[in-house]
C-alpha cells in the first residue's frame, strides 16, 4: 500500500462512519454518553476534506493531526496521537510485515496514552490483537475483527466512561472497540488488495 492507496482508504472511512454513526451512537448510549458515532463521523469527514496526497507516512501523520483536532473526547487524542506515532514506523510502501509493526505501535500508543491494558473493555482489546490476527491468518477480515470487538461484550469496563457502570457495562460491545474494527479493516484492505 503506497501513499495513494492509503489516502483512498482513509478518505473511504468517511462513508463507513457515515453509515455506522447510529450503530456507534447506540452502543455509546448504553455505556457512555452517546456521542461516539457523531465524533467519529466528524473526524473522518475532516480527514476526507483535509488530508491530501503524500507518501504513506505523510498520509498517516496528516490523518493523525486531523483526527486530533476534530474528534475531541477521549478517542480524538487516542486515535490522533496513534496515527502520528504510526507514521514514524510506516514505510513508503506498506506491506503486511510493515502493517504488523504499525499495528503494534498503534496498540502501544493507546496503551500508554490511555493507561489501558487488555480486558478493560476498550478499543485496545481490538487494536492489540490485530497484529496477531494478521500474522496468523494473513489478513484482517471484517468478520474476524468483529469477533475481537464482540469479545468486549462480556467484559466489565474498568476504563473510560463505561467504567462508571461497573457490572452493568456487561452486555454491550465497547463503542471504541467497534470503531477500531472499521479503522483497522481499512488499513488491512489497503495492504490486501
Amino acid at each position: 500500500m503506497n501513499g495513494d492507496k492509503l489516502l483512498e482508504q482513509m478518505h473511504g472511512l468517511k462513508s463507513v462512519f457515515d453509515d455506522k454513526e447510529s450503530e456507534l451512537t447506540g452502543l455509546d448510549r448504553e455505556i457512555g454518553d452517546g456521542d461516539h458515532g457523531v465524533n467519529m463521523k466528524r473526524g473522518f469527514s475532516a480527514v476526507n476534506e483535509k488530508v491530501s496526497a503524500g507518501s504513506a507516512p505523510e498520509v498517516l501523520k496528516q490523518t493523525g493531526m486531523t483526527l486530533m483536532s476534530s474528534i475531541g473526547g477521549a478517542s480524538g487524542p487516542l486515535y490522533g496521537f496513534s496515527f502520528v506515532k504510526m507514521s514514524e514506523v510506516a514505510k513508503e510502501e506498506i506491506d503486511k510485515e510493515n502493517l504488523m509493526e504499525i499495528l503494534d505501535v498503534f496498540a502501544d500508543t493507546v496503551a500508554s496514552k490511555g493507561k489501558v491494558e487488555g480486558g478493560e473493555k476498550t478499543m485496545y482489546d481490538v487494536i492489540s490483537k490485530s497484529a496477531g490476527l494478521l500474522r496468523e491468518s494473513g489478513a484482517l477480515k471484517l468478520d474476524d475483527l468483529q469477533s475481537l470487538a464482540e469479545e468486549t461484550e462480556d467484559m466489565v469496563a474498568t476504563k473510560g466512561r463505561a467504567a462508571y457502570f461497573k457490572e452493568q457495562s456487561k452486555g454491550t460491545i465497547d463503542p471504541g472497540a467497534q470503531s477500531a474494527v472499521y479503522i483497522i479493516h481499512a488499513l488491512g484492505e489497503g495492504v490486501g488488495k
Partner: protein
C-alpha cells in the same frame, strides 16, 4: 427531534455567536474559545472548558473574578488540544496559567496534551482535576461535576489576590479534598447532535447518581417525593463528610423549574437542620447543567473562611449569584 436549532453541525458555533451578542465583555477566538475582551494584565490566568451542553458553564463564567478563558467542545465532547493551547496562549499574561479540568478521560487527555505543548513553548502551566462526584466509588475515576463552578470562583478569587500559581494550586487542591457532589434526574436530556435522549426512563422511575452528560445514573429507582429524594442523596454525601458546618450548592440540571429547585432547597435545609448542620453559604441555581435534563445535584463543602470570602467576592459573571 424538536429543538430550537438550525442544524446539528452548527449547533456549537451558533450558540457561541449568540453568547457573544449577549455579553459584550467577551471575545471569541479560534471559533470556539471564549476569552475576556479586557485581558487580565496580571495574576494567574484561569482556563477551563469541556464539552458544551453545561451552560452557563463554562463560557458564562469567563468574567472578571472568575475565568479568563473557556474552551467549548462539541456537545458533551471534550475540546481538542489545539483549541486548549490557543486559550492558554491568549490568556497568559506572564504570571502563568491554571487549567481547571473535570475528571473525564477525554478532558484530561486533551487538556494535558495542550499543557505539554504550551510548556514546550515556554508557558508556565499547571492543572487541577476536579473529581467531586461521589456516585463513583473509585476516587480516581470520580467525575468532575457541579463542584467545578465553586473551584472556578475560588481560584478566580485567589488569582485576584495575586497569589502565585503554585500557591493557588495548593489551596485549590486542599479545598477539593472536602468537595462532594451527587446528582439525580427524573427525565433525560435530548442531545441535539444525535437527536437521541441520553437514556430512557419510565414514568415512575428516577436515576440517582447521574453525571452531567446525559448518561444514565448509577442507580435506577422508583420515583419518590422530593423530601425522600433529598434524604437519599444526602445519605450518599454523608458517607463522605462529617463536617458540622457546610457550604451547600443546589444545582439545577437545566430543565428543572425554579419552583422545584426552591422546593428541593427547602427539604435540603430541613434535613441538614435535623442533622444539626450549620449552612454557612447556600447557592441555588443552574450552575452546571446537562442541556434540558430535569433533576438536580447537591454539592457540599466544608466551611472555610477563605472559600466563603471567595464566594462573596465580586465577579462580573451574571451567572454566579
Amino acid at each position: 427531534m424538536k429543538k430550537l436549532m438550525n442544524d446539528r453541525e452548527s449547533f456549537l458555533t451558533d450558540m457561541i455567536d449568540g453568547l457573544k451578542l449577549r455579553d459584550e465583555a467577551i471575545d471569541i477566538i479560534e471559533e470556539t474559545v471564549v476569552v475576556r475582551r479586557d485581558k487580565k494584565q496580571s495574576g494567574v490566568a484561569l482556563v477551563s472548558g469541556g464539552g458544551s451542553g453545561h451552560e452557563p458553564a463554562h463560557a458564562g463564567y469567563v468574567a472578571e473574578g472568575m475565568l479568563d478563558a473557556a474552551v467549548c467542545g462539541e456537545v458533551f465532547t471534550s475540546p481538542t488540544p489545539d483549541k486548549v493551547l490557543a486559550a492558554i496562549k491568549a490568556a497568559d499574561n506572564g504570571d502563568g496559567v491554571l487549567l481547571i479540568i473535570k475528571n473525564y478521560s477525554g478532558d484530561v487527555m486533551n487538556f494535558e496534551m495542550a499543557q505539554e505543548m504550551a510548556q514546550a513553548e515556554g508557558h508556565q502551566v499547571s492543572s487541577v482535576v476536579v473529581r467531586d462526584d461521589v456516585a463513583i466509588d473509585n476516587e480516581e475515576q470520580r467525575r468532575g461535576v457541579a463542584g467545578t463552578v465553586i473551584v472556578h470562583k475560588y481560584a478566580g478569587y485567589l488569582s485576584d489576590q495575586n497569589l502565585p500559581l503554585d500557591e493557588i494550586v495548593e489551596k485549590v487542591e486542599g479545598m477539593m479534598e472536602s468537595l462532594y457532589s451527587i446528582g439525580m434526574a427524573i427525565a433525560p436530556c435530548l442531545v441535539p447532535t444525535t437527536g437521541e435522549y441520553g437514556f430512557d426512563l419510565d414514568e415512575d422511575e428516577m436515576e440517582i447518581g447521574v453525571g452531567i452528560h446525559g448518561e444514565k445514573g448509577i442507580y435506577r429507582e422508583k420515583s419518590e417525593t422530593v423530601d425522600k429524594i433529598v434524604d437519599r442523596m444526602l445519605e450518599e454525601l454523608f458517607k463522605h463528610t462529617d463536617s458540622s458546618r457546610l457550604i451547600v450548592m443546589v444545582n439545577g440540571m437545566g430543565g428543572t423549574p425554579e419552583s422545584e429547585l426552591s422546593i428541593a432547597t427547602k427539604y435540603v435545609m430541613e434535613n441538614l437542620a435535623s442533622r444539626n448542620i450549620a449552612v454557612s453559604k447556600l447557592l441555588v441555581g443552574d450552575y452546571m447543567t446537562a442541556l434540558d435534563m430535569q433533576g438536580f445535584s447537591l454539592t457540599v463543602l466544608d466551611e472555610d473562611q477563605d472559600v466563603l470570602d471567595s464566594l462573596e467576592a465580586k465577579t462580573r459573571s451574571k451567572y454566579f449569584k
